[in-house]
Symmetry: C2
Subunit: 380 residues, 2 copies
């Protein structure tokens, strides 16, 4: 929470425009975060993960600061170009792309693409001749609050064949990428993945192909309820692992922070719609907000992300609450398995501030499930 | 799948407009479904659950057929009125409502509201004086493919006090509602809930308050992969339970079908973007579609709803596949715990038809997560 956000929300209330939930993102925090990454990893290029928050103001600020961009679709590429980035600063980082979208990206000037199998290499060879490709490998997400599935990446043993295939088809076999798991709280987790990456570099070198780049992925955490290591600790751990596995031939590196870049820059203001109990002897109160899984808080699925919540009654005694959204959908419950402690003074109409919501909220909103509008967003 | 949908999709392909996934809803099926409900439960009024699919054409057809409407928000009330329904045919069925939204609904002419606690009764007494209220009670969702949480409803023992409170505040204590769980495949499940409802009627009668209505809720299934009982079987089971618990004083009843009204009327056409394996010895193929959890198939969460999928290669030998969506989000996997058998001839660029997708798809779509547009929808 910053003074600028507080003042913005106060002005919105005074104007009587506080009729639904809204996200406010403070660009000063985004700037600080960018600079922290740049300082912590001075030899690494930053590719902001646009999907975390593609607000035009965020993209424009990062473009001015010199950031590069990791994009998931042609629409995100277009948004990034519109914000002032040049195509040489854009990676099409989704391993799952339609061939016509690869062609469109290539026409827009994009030359860097992710792959994780030979079929995707073949699409790129046809639609983006001569482009650079990096192969994503699987790595286990131990230590992450939001462990990744096996959806992206191939087994490390398969990567050399994929990259050699790219080389044979006239592409530049450029490097290796991995993702250690979102909201990764253990800076040591990059070590194992970098060991695999170095082995792939050696394997390809034996085949006469010199890889150049390691994409260290995202996973950099933002602070929710628990403390997380500072960015500097990640930089140090990554540098140690790079030195250990690559010796004095450290490759070019890039990182793809999303949550770590914008998560703590945003605060959602929401309203308590109802407080009730299910029976006279119900030990928990049910607190229903005007925001839920379908209009901004999708990352509460399985109660993975636990946002800090501030209320007007903070300081009162607290009691366990089940927290739920406003929709007529039974899965629209935010925290139930592990009830949330909230002040007993919290009542219908109270405002609550949900912190750390700058990433993965606005674009996750449904177009209008139950007739509720998407999350309103302001960037200041 | 109907001839009309097949012809529509063929025309779309010929016109070269098949560049992204789309849903096609056949109004003839919606009409058939409405008439099946009306025939199976001749003394019961149908309140279509607008949230299942609020397409204007669907609402207009149902309004013409004489349906009433269960709505979750002021926007849904406005959509329903715009489609030609009069406000006396609208229920504001969400138990979680802002007081200003209740006032707005009342100003629009709505006089029927759901509650499940005294605080909500008080809002309605202030904002919708004299309105009818029904109290939702908890009932366990055994037998449902998508069991409901405890989010909606109070313990049956608490309902008489809630309704008496409404009566004291000048509202009409009108009845009781419950929901036996979505995609409920056991018609016998209404029996226990009706027993509770009858007890509440008796309790209120002893307090001098005559309830009039039982809202039997939704839960009527649509056919996915498994067969489901026909609507007539539900009508018979419900009539038996009503007679058993209410004797010869059967109350007014309403039902709120959503999935059962539109689920089987819709088919999504999607495209295979990538087919790959994660390693040389991977026993399953990964099949990535251009539709996933964030642009239409949110109900695959926890693999609850398993849609029938038709392909151009049907008839080929099949093999187990993990099915996933196109986004850079690791949770965007549709079926993995229980892999889906799909033809081995399925390849990149193949079209697939996902059946039973008329309900809970379009409005669940995100506004643009990863830059992917919301699900396109056509009603024919």
């Amino acid at each position: 929470m910053t003074d600028r956000i507080r003042e913005f929300l106060e002005a919105r209330r005074r104007a009587g425009r506080d009729t639904g939930p809204c996200l406010v993102v403070d660009l000063d925090i985004v700037r600080d975060n960018y600079q922290s990454f740049a300082r912590a990893l001075p030899d690494t290029r930053v590719f902001y993960a646009v999907k975390a928050n593609p607000a035009p103001e965020v993209l424009a600020l990062l473009a001015r600061l010199g950031s590069c961009f990791d994009t998931a679709s042609v629409v995100e590429i277009e948004q990034t170009l519109a914000a002032g980035a040049t195509p040489d600063r854009i990676s099409f980082g989704n391993t799952i792309k339609k061939e016509r979208d690869i062609a469109r990206a290539y026409a827009l000037g994009v030359r860097l693409f992710a792959v994780d199998c030979e079929a995707e290499v073949e699409k790129i060879a046809r639609a983006a001749p001569g482009a650079r490709v990096f192969c994503r490998i699987l790595c286990d997400g131990d230590g992450a609050e939001w462990p990744l599935s096996r959806k992206f990446g191939c087994a490390p043993q398969m990567a050399p064949r994929v990259l050699e295939h790219a080389h044979r088809l006239g592409l530049t076999a450029y490097g290796v990428s991995f993702h250690v798991g979102s909201q990764q709280r253990d800076p040591g987790m990059w070590d194992g993945a970098l060991k695999s990456a170095a082995e792939i570099f050696n394997d390809l070198a034996e085949r006469g192909i010199q890889l150049q780049m390691v994409n260290l992925g995202g996973g950099f955490p933002t602070k929710y309820l628990k403390n997380v290591p500072v960015v500097k600790a990640y930089g140090q751990a990554i540098f140690r692992a790079l030195s250990k596995h690559f010796g004095n031939r450290i490759p070019e590196t890039i990182i793809e922070p999303g949550r770590g870049m914008v998560g703590n820059a945003g605060v959602i203001e929401a309203e308590v719609v109802l407080v009730s109990r299910k029976s006279d002897d119900d030990p928990v109160r049910w607190v229903y907000l005007d925001i839920g899984k379908f209009n901004g808080l999708a990352e509460t699925t399985d109660e993975m992300i636990r946002y800090p919540i501030r209320t007007e009654a903070d300081g009162d005694a607290t009691a366990p609450c089940v927290l739920a959204g406003p929709s007529c959908d039974s899965i629209d419950v935010l925290y139930e398995k592990d009830p949330y402690l909230l002040p007993i003074g919290l009542e219908i109409g109270s405002k609550v501030l949900i912190e750390g919501t700058g990433a993965y909220t606005t674009t996750y909103s449904s177009v209008g499930f139950n007739g509720f509008p998407p999350l309103e967003s302001f960037v200041i």
